[in-house]
Symmetry: C2
Subunit: 158 residues, 2 copies
DNA sequence: TTGAATTCATTCAATATTCAACTTAATTTG
DNA sequence: CAAATTAAGTTGAATATTGAATGAATTCAA
């Protein structure tokens, strides 16, 4: 039950749970991505729309948006360029910090969000939420929140 | 509580749980990927090594491997080419079906696996398993297994 | 207050992924 | 059994992502 250098292997139950979590997380992303395809959006596009939609004035600084969506600045920069070409967002200068830029939701972006969100939520229900019992929901949150907290911290200590 | 087209939004608790799950799944992948970097492996590399290590004769058909690791045949093909160049696997013809190929773990691939696995397992413990209480572990499995089952099915019905 | 370090964001080149087209082999069917 | 269909896998071009380098504005510190 110990590896040669002293690390402890996973028990059968631990391994099963770990693999289930992994599988769910992969298949779910895959499925939700597919449910967004008919609307011409990737999951990444959608997440950015969500963030901007919930932000004050429908705008966020590039850095904040990158942090919120867990992507590198470089990746976000490309991503926003694409979404800009698609008419969903635009860049706007920041007066208080002239290095900075805002990504701003366009009217079309906001309309798109309002149109797509119900379908996305329905998919989240169908493939996840509605498959959990009330206790399932509750215990999931209870189990995962500490993990999330730990990982948020670990992310900083890069 | 209803969207215009009749879909039901998520309750606060549902939303919280959903977002926590999403966050954990993203940050965890990110973290494990980072823990593998010092060994010169991506998570994708590692998963393929795991699959081959557990397979009979350390070999699998390309299609099966693609299915097991949830990637397209094309992606796997490129991936295996890279791993072949890195000396971790090799391709071998399949006699019974001459269209087919096996991806086979090389000695070096197997040595790599034995060397890296303990560190990976330790990371899985540190960032996930050891943060769950015994009930946490159990209820997680209980909650997620039906979701996994559902999604496995949905995947087929593409 | 000036020079050094940091932050914001982009760009370019190297990698990786996707998608459609293709080749070859196996299977089906009329 | 011949033609059509399906399956296994690869390829190449288009697209996306990564990581290092860059430029420009801000902050820090002596």
């Amino acid at each position: 039950m110990e590896t040669e250098n002293g690390a402890r292997w996973l028990s059968d139950e631990e391994q099963r749970t770990w693999r289930t979590h992994l599988e769910v997380s992969r298949l779910l992303t895959y499925q939700l991505e597919r449910d967004l395809q008919p609307f011409g959006l990737t999951y990444n596009d959608y997440e950015i729309l969500v963030n901007l939609s919930e932000a004050e004035d429908h705008q966020m600084r590039m850095s904040d948006l990158a942090r919120a969506t867990l992507q590198s600045k470089s990746r976000l920069s490309h991503q926003i360029t694409r979404m800009e070409n698609a008419g969903l967002v635009r860049r706007e200068n920041c007066e208080s910090d002239r290095r900075g830029l805002f990504a701003v939701l366009t009217d079309y972006g906001w309309e798109t969000m309002k149109r797509v969100a119900p379908h996305h939520v329905a998919a989240v229900r169908e493939h996840f939420i509605d498959l959990l019992s009330p206790q399932g929901l509750e215990s999931l949150q209870a189990a995962l929140e500490p993990v999330a907290k730990h990982l948020r911290g670990a992310r900083g200590r890069a």
